[in-house]
């Protein structure tokens, strides 16, 4: 029962806070660049407006184009439900095996790519080719990185991996690199551009409009929230909801309320801090040229391998 409540609280909170996170990072970036910026709550209104708008569907597209938004958002919702973001030990936590998680992330990427190619425009193709390259080369980095975490934790389930250990420093670094690439942020992609030479994610969703666009934008906000909360929890797993602290000296209900409240507040704090750090990073570095992405990806891969070796040496 407790584990079901944890999953429900987490699902509602993460799904609800995702647009806010997206608005927040934009606001922080604007402030750092000396602009005033929009309210962080703007994405809620943007998505709501888009849901009401008429859709324009390209005549070149097929049934694949219409499947894409559902699968992309569906897989992201899956991640928001199974990963340990607000609480540990949720009812769906057994499915947070790191190989499953990286494969589900890949499904989302694959369908985005298909959507980009289905409109027969060169922009979509360009974004798709780039996204496919990045995500297919990020996948091995992710698996090697999380293997290091798994070896320290003694389980392949991400739910049991939270908590930092000094030997994992390099692995944590490569995890950050993976998260940046997966979310199409700097230095891999520029989320604010619509310039064909630089865009990756935006190029793929160019032909989408109305509710479908809202779903895809929401999916990318959700993915950003999920992965930044995951990274934050790897560092600070304390004060999360868990099944163990619920009954305290026979006082069941107040404990639930209290620990639930603490976890919710902590989650919001984590989101704010992570978005601030992301905005700081994006304001201080430049985007890499796409054809230099091999450097980024191979550096990430070798950091991940080095992290794994360090963990293995420590294991002996």
């Amino acid at each position: 029962m407790n584990s079901i409540i944890i999953t429900i609280i987490q699902g509602l909170l993460v799904l609800g806070i995702a647009p806010f996170a997206m608005g927040l990072v934009r606001k922080f970036k604007a402030l750092m660049q000396g602009r005033k910026g929009a309210y962080p709550t703007l994405p809620y209104f943007t998505y709501a407006t888009m849901m009401k708008k008429e859709m324009v569907i390209s005549k070149s597209t097929s049934w694949v184009f219409r499947v894409v938004p559902f699968v992309v958002l569906g897989t992201t919702v899956f991640l928001a439900l199974v990963l340990p973001l607000v609480g540990m030990g949720g009812v769906l936590a057994p499915y947070a095996d790191f190989i499953v998680v990286s494969a589900v992330l890949a499904i989302g990427a694959v369908f985005l790519v298909l959507g980009g190619l289905d409109s027969a425009s060169a922009f979509g193709g360009m974004g798709s080719a780039r996204e496919m390259t990045i995500s297919s080369l990020v996948e091995p980095v992710m698996i090697v990185t999380l293997t290091a975490f798994a070896l320290v934790a003694g389980t392949t389930n991400i739910d049991g991996m939270l908590g930092m250990h000094p030997v994992l420093t390099l692995s944590f670094l490569s995890l950050i690199l993976v998260c940046l690439a997966e979310n199409a942020r700097y230095p891999v992609d520029n989320p604010a551009t619509h310039l064909e030479l630089t865009m990756v994610h935006e190029a793929m969703v160019l032909e989408y409009s109305g509710p479908y666009l809202a779903m895809l934008e929401y999916a990318s906000a959700l993915k950003l929230t999920v992965l930044s909360l995951l990274a934050a929890n790897m560092l600070f797993p304390s004060m999360m909801l868990s099944t163990s602290v619920w009954v305290y000296q026979g006082m069941v209900v107040p404990t639930i309320l209290l620990s639930g409240l603490i976890a919710v507040v902590m989650t919001v704090v984590k989101v704010v801090v992570m978005m601030f750090l992301l905005a700081l990073l994006e304001s201080s570095i430049a985007k890499m040229r796409f054809y230099r992405m091999q450097e980024y990806l191979s550096i990430a891969f070798f950091i991940a391998l080095a992290g794994l070796v360090i963990v293995l040496i420590n294991l002996v």
């Binding site: 849901m51 009401k52 708008k53 008429e54 859709m55 569907i57 390209s58 005549k59 070149s60 097929s62 049934w63 694949v64 938004p69 569906g74 897989t75 439900l81 199974v82 769906l92 057994p94 499915y95 095996d97 190989i99 494969a103 589900v104 890949a106 499904i107 790519v113 298909l114 190619l117 289905d118 027969a120 425009s121 060169a122 979509g124 193709g125 360009m126 798709s128 080719a129 780039r130 496919m132 390259t133 080369l137 990020v138 091995p140 698996i143 090697v144 293997t147 070896l151 389980t155 392949t156 160019l206 032909e207 109305g210 509710p211 054809y291 992405m293 091999q294 990806l297 293995l312 294991l315």
Partner: protein
């Protein structure tokens, strides 16, 4: 009726019926004969599939099918290992034969249909009897029937490229067969009628050097048939040239027969050096990496699939190599898991790869070109076929919730688990890291290759007139593809059950591993629930969208075109799509891009007609096969000098040969 007798009769019917079906096809050169021949072929193979399935689910571990008398003593026998592979062979053969009924009729002018039918039947018969025959002579004869029949099938369309590919294939396959013969000779002390199960005994009596030589010969023999790098060069040439249902059989099934042979032989070597496992694993990883890189950059639909077969065979051999090393280093648990996942991957690969080849055949029969650049827009024109294609491609990319994912998942899980056990052994740890990183790397790029295959063929606007008028496959052309798609989805839902049906625990001599192990991280995770959860999440999104917005509120319009009409020439092609990978891995791939500019105006050199050619050369054909070929030609030139036509010289040569042979023998 007794179930054992039922199984025996079923398999005998399938063997004899296959040949009989071929004869019907050969003798009756008309539409009725053709339909009858392929229907019979499909029917008897279905019986064979049911029989081997019954055997697998039954309790017996060995069943004697029959012996061929007249002093040959060729014994036909079924055990667990061969029945798993026989199940693959008969199932896929039945579906391919069903597909062929309609498919070959489309190519009446290209192929000589009666001989095609006979060669197909002999090919299938050869594969069945390789799996069933349990002594060396029977094994080798069946192996040759399989090889020679497939040689004729590769050159079925009698085009220049096909004949070249077929001859290359013939040379490679016979080098392999020669190596197998030599290996068997060493292993059995020259007794060619020895039973395969007796080899384990004779192998122990061998001196270590001959045992190692025999192992290497078998690795080359089976590896060259399976398409292991660096003996793979014939595969991407030969497989695509055959008719599509034959490509499906060659890639999906024939390669698995080679895997079967390798598994059968290595079980005869209880003591093998540790480095042999490493060698197998290194060759496997090399094949996987090379196969997947070329699958990414290839623009021919069937060649992409052939390269993907090299990749998958590489993954299977990596698992086998790691298993061998683990058995040698007192890690039987890891060894068994690797072996089980290797067999599991063989089964699922057979299903999705033949499905993809049949799909490719159905597409090519409409677009009349194998080049992906001549396709596009097929999802709109062939909705049902492209739906199957998408599922098969996603499963080939090892994504959940389809079958292939679970094999790789279990393999990676056992590798991660093994780190704890072998942490003190640096070589073992290194191998595990290589396996993990290799699988992850290949897995990522396999997604790329499969997405490219589906997206460029099916999405966007058609690039040619033929593609624009493509019609959806239907009837008997579509049914086998739908069945294979259904199988791969079922494998996804019932992966653990499949393993218990396969009785994979019977594969290895040591105590059985419970198939429960296939349920990673505790009993609460089941593949079926994962599939359900994914579908549930997508369904949730779907219903929320219906709830919150008006579904009807949309209008069709053309793609945003910057004010200039958009044409299919502006779409991304397969070449363009894979350009980043070609660039990132340019050291390995060595693709050469040449832009030829012919100026149109004398006054302005910038106004020119430009054509671009991308050439890809494999390192292996460039640095290994071409020098060998040149050396052979050089040697032949030298040898020609003594062939001057004089009888006396030939007699003298025969005499000298005789004396030298006697000197060596005595």
């Amino acid at each position: 009726m007794d179930i054992t007798l039922l199984i025996q009769n079923g398999i005998i019917v399938s063997l004899i019926g296959t040949v009989f079906a071929g004869l019907i096809g050969l003798l009756f050169n008309n539409a009725t004969g053709r339909v009858l021949s392929y229907s019979l072929l499909a029917f008897v193979n279905a019986i064979g599939a049911v029989a081997s399935f019954l055997f697998l689910t039954g309790k017996e571990s060995v069943s004697v099918i029959g012996t061929i008398p007249f002093g040959f003593d060729v014994m036909f026998r079924l055990d667990i290992l061969s029945s798993i592979f026989l199940l693959i062979v008969t199932t896929i053969s039945a579906l391919c034969a069903m597909y062929a009924i309609v498919y070959v009729a489309k190519y009446e002018k290209v192929y000589h249909l009666p001989s095609l039918a006979m060669a197909t039947a002999l090919f299938i018969f050869g594969m069945q009897s390789v799996l069933l025959s349990m002594n060396i002579a029977g094994f080798m004869v069946s192996w040759e029937i399989m090889s020679v029949a497939s040689f004729f099938l590769v050159m079925a369309d009698k085009e220049k490229a096909s004949i070249k590919a077929a001859l290359f294939y013939l040379v490679m396959t016979h080098l392999g067969a020669g190596a197998l013969f030599a290996g068997f000779f060493l292993l059995s002390n020259g007794k060619l009628l020895a039973d395969l199960s007796s080899l384990a005994v004779t192998a122990q009596a061998l001196p270590p050097t001959s045992a190692i030589l025999a192992l290497l010969l078998f690795l080359f023999g089976f590896g060259s048939k399976a398409g292991l790098v660096p003996f793979h060069v014939w595969l991407p040439e030969a497989h695509p040239q055959a008719p599509s249902h034959i490509s499906a059989l060659m890639s999906g099934v024939m390669l698995k027969v080679a895997v079967y042979g390798f598994l059968r032989i290595i079980s005869a070597f209880p003591m093998m050096p540790s480095w042999f496992g490493i060698l197998v694993m290194v060759l496997g990883l090399l094949s996987a990496v090379f196969g997947v890189l070329y699958a990414v950059i290839e623009t021919d639909i069937k060649r992409t699939l052939a390269y993907s077969s090299i990749e998958n065979i590489g993954l299977i051999f990596t698992m086998i190599g790691l298993a061998l090393y683990a058995f040698n280093n007192q890690q039987p648990m890891l060894g068994e898991l690797c072996l089980i996942t290797a067999v599991f991957h063989s089964v699922v690969h057979a299903v999705f790869k033949s499905g993809l080849f049949l799909t490719a055949g159905a597409i090519v029969s409409e677009t009349h070109s194998r080049s992906l650049e001549a396709m596009g827009g097929l999802a709109k024109r062939m909705p049902i076929l492209s739906g199957s294609f998408l599922i098969l491609a996603l499963s080939a990319a090892a994504l959940p919730p389809f079958g292939v994912f679970y094999g790789e998942w279990v393999f990676l899980q056992s590798v991660v688990g093994a780190f704890f056990v072998v942490a003190t052994n640096p070589v073992f740890t290194g191998l595990l890291i290589a396996a993990l990183a290799g699988f992850a790397f290949v897995g990522g790029l396999a997604i790329f290759a499969m997405v490219k295959l589906f997206a460029i063929a099916c999405l966007g606007e058609p690039r040619t007139e033929q593609a624009a008028h493509a019609k959806d496959a239907k009837g008997l052309l579509l049914t086998p593809i739908i069945i294979l798609t259904g199988l791969i989805v079922l494998f996804g839902a019932f992966a653990p059950n499949l393993l218990s049906i396969l009785r994979a625990d019977g594969l290895v001599e040591t105590q059985g591993v419970s198939p429960m192990i296939l349920v990673p991280s505790g009993g609460s995770v089941t593949p079926m629930f994962l599939m359900g959860l994914l579908i549930l999440c997508v369904g949730l999104v779907w219903s929320l969208r219906r709830l919150f917005s008006n579904v009807k509120n949309e209008r069709p319009y053309h793609t945003w075109d910057c004010g200039q009409p958009i044409t299919s020439g502006m779409e991304y092609t397969a070449t363009a799509f894979s350009a980043p990978i070609r660039f990132f891995f340019r050291l390995v791939l060595r693709a050469k891009k040449t832009v030829i500019a012919t100026p149109l105006l004398a006054t302005n050199p910038w106004i020119a007609k430009r054509t671009m050619v991308v050439e890809t050369n494999t390192i292996f054909s460039q640095y290994m096969y071409e020098p060998i070929g040149k050396g052979m030609i050089w040697l032949s030139e030298k040898v020609r000098k003594i062939q001057n036509g004089s009888i006396q010289l030939y007699l003298a040569l025969i005499f000298i040969t005789l004396i030298v042979a006697l000197m060596i023998a005595l």
